[in-house]
Symmetry: C2
Subunit: 342 residues, 2 copies
DNA sequence: TTGTAGGCGTTATCAG
DNA sequence: CTGATAACGCCTACAA
């Protein structure tokens, strides 16, 4: 049944290909009657336009892409939904593309831009350490949404929206201090990993110091790199090890809720209790944090607002209504039952 | 800087386009020297081939797609990873595409097949109620992986791999009966929804009857359709309502772990205890089920095996090593601390 | 080993 | 309003 093309449809209808094209694309200059006739033939013969050919020829595509690193992260689920809604509202279509941990998001973006004639990109998650030269290759608007960035940041290149990881991390650790904890452990990424984990770790350090607590490296624990990072499994293993080390501490700050839950379970399985024996705090404000038992004290990131802002900014830039901007949202300290006054 | 094409590269190198093409595609008939020279120019000028043009021309693509309905479902996360690995091992590439709840997966598949010249498809999740006529349009091998299907099933069309939802549902409800529960509630999809929920509900009914328990419709609760289904939120709300109804029951079977966790939290928030006051059972065997406190009794679906089987079968069919097949995996009853003998 | 030319299925630009 | 026809960027015979 050799795949049917626009030519076949044209022949079947006794019209030219351009007329068929007009019918498919809701072009105004076309007789309603011929249009309905064409659409009928299309339906009957199950004609489906070839997107590759379309993309090849088309110049403006009304399509943006979301490149997401860590697609299994539940933190992104709601974001995707919001981004999708907001995009649809603007009559654009939306392509979700996952990028693997070791892949270079810029390379993928470059490829996609060519292939799909994208108008804009939202990067979700991951960590940006690309050279300006590399970034400047990407000549369409893009915004970095909750992606980690190091050092210098040129506002000309792209927008950025996220919470201030340092500040929020500081906030929750400061809270732990204020309710009396002095021996506060942290479960973070490995310290030579220049990621979001490093920033949160720095917030932790600063909070301790400002509360006159000398950081103790024996309480600084890194996720295992032979287990997927930012998972409950990882949190569990690290916490188990910490408990078995016999180190003295009364609270632990896990840099994500998943890790916090893994850590909590390790404590419970050791026959101890949260928060009676150990207070546990997380980060992100996932649904599961509040559903867990005990509910995890955490920093809620305003995902909806963040996602909305990302889309708004992106389209403002696309439509040249505004320049790129840096948009930092406040997180909210959610006090659950996993932490207690000491 | 008008996007650079293969022609430009050819000109820059002083060779023909076919030579450049050969270089890019690792074609054998090419002088190593000219090849390295070409690759150098490509790197220097950041040339990126246009995939649309490639797909348009190409006939066989060594690419499969995974169409996934409910991408935020953590149940699929591990599957995706496994599928990806297995696909890579076979030197194929792999395209992940999410389909929205209301979208028709077959239409999307058809489109993708044309656009990308796919060799095979794995459908993940969702529910198939398409006519044979529609299905037969999809003329490449595909396998349904943990997707619900109704009634008749023609094995010629495609493969199917999943657990037996009826049997597994029966298994866990039977377990509840065997440990002494007689008033067992269920939280499922709405009963006129012909989905996987219906099948699990039927398993529940059968288990009750086989244990000489008369089903009580007052204990059959449906998820709210104004809240996203299969979520903790939904489980929470439904359970809260059930508790407040004053209905007498000692156990509840939630047809997914997320729902079970929401339900558990509702019980806890009502000042009751799991499992002392109410036993709670789930379905799926998500990580969080075992990490929850108390660990949720559930049916663990062997996700790795399921995903592996899906890929294996798909490639067997692609390579014509085998016909389509129906592959049913056993689930495993995982007994947590959320259920107790009565 | 390399270059030339035709075509993949559409859309866009023209004339009619 | 409609129909040829030239791109779009690449691959692949076919020729050299």
């Amino acid at each position: 049944m050799g795949t049917i093309t626009i030519k076949d449809v044209a022949k079947l209808c006794g019209v030219g290909v351009s007329t068929v094209s007009r019918a498919i694309n809701n072009h105004p200059d076309i007789n309603e009657e011929t249009k309905t006739k064409i659409m009928k033939v299309i339906k009957e013969n199950n004609y489906i336009p070839n997107n590759s050919a379309r993309n090849l020829k088309r110049s403006n595509s009304k399509m943006i892409a979301v490149l997401i690193k860590g697609i299994s992260n539940p933190f992104f689920s709601k974001m995707i939904k919001v981004i999708e809604e907001e995009t649809q509202e603007r009559k654009y279509s939306f392509l979700l593309h996952r990028v693997e941990e070791r892949e270079d998001e810029i390379d993928i973006a470059l490829e996609l831009v060519k292939e799909k004639k994208l108008r804009g990109i939202i990067f979700l998650g991951g960590y940006f350490t690309h050279s300006e030269e590399k970034l400047s290759q990407l000549d369409i608007p893009y915004v970095l949404c909750t992606v980690g960035i190091t050092g210098k940041w040129s506002k000309e290149l792209c927008s950025f929206v996220a919470v201030d990881d340092f500040k929020e991390s500081y906030k929750i650790v400061d809270y732990l201090c204020k309710i009396g904890h002095k021996r506060i452990a942290i479960i973070t990424t490995s310290l030579d990993d220049t990621s979001i984990g490093l920033i949160r770790y720095k917030g932790y350090l600063q909070a301790l110091r400002d509360n006159n607590i000398e950081p103790d490296m024996k309480l600084v624990r890194s996720m295992k790199d032979d287990i997927e990072t930012f998972t409950m499994d990882n949190g569990y293993v690290v916490m188990k090890e910490l408990l078995e080390s016999g180190e003295d501490f009364t609270a632990v700050f896990a840099i994500s809720d998943s890790i916090a839950i893994g850590a909590s379970k390790a404590i419970l399985n050791a026959g101890k209790s949260v928060p009676e024996d150990y207070s546990v705090a997380g980060f992100d404000g996932l649904d599961i944090a509040s559903y867990y038992n005990p509910a995890i004290t955490t920093i809620r990131q305003p995902v909806d607002e963040i996602a909305k802002a990302a889309v708004t900014i992106l389209f403002d830039v696309i439509k040249k209504k505004a320049d790129h901007q840096m948009c930092v949202f406040p997180g909210e300290l959610i006090i659950g039952q996993s932490t207690k006054l000491i």
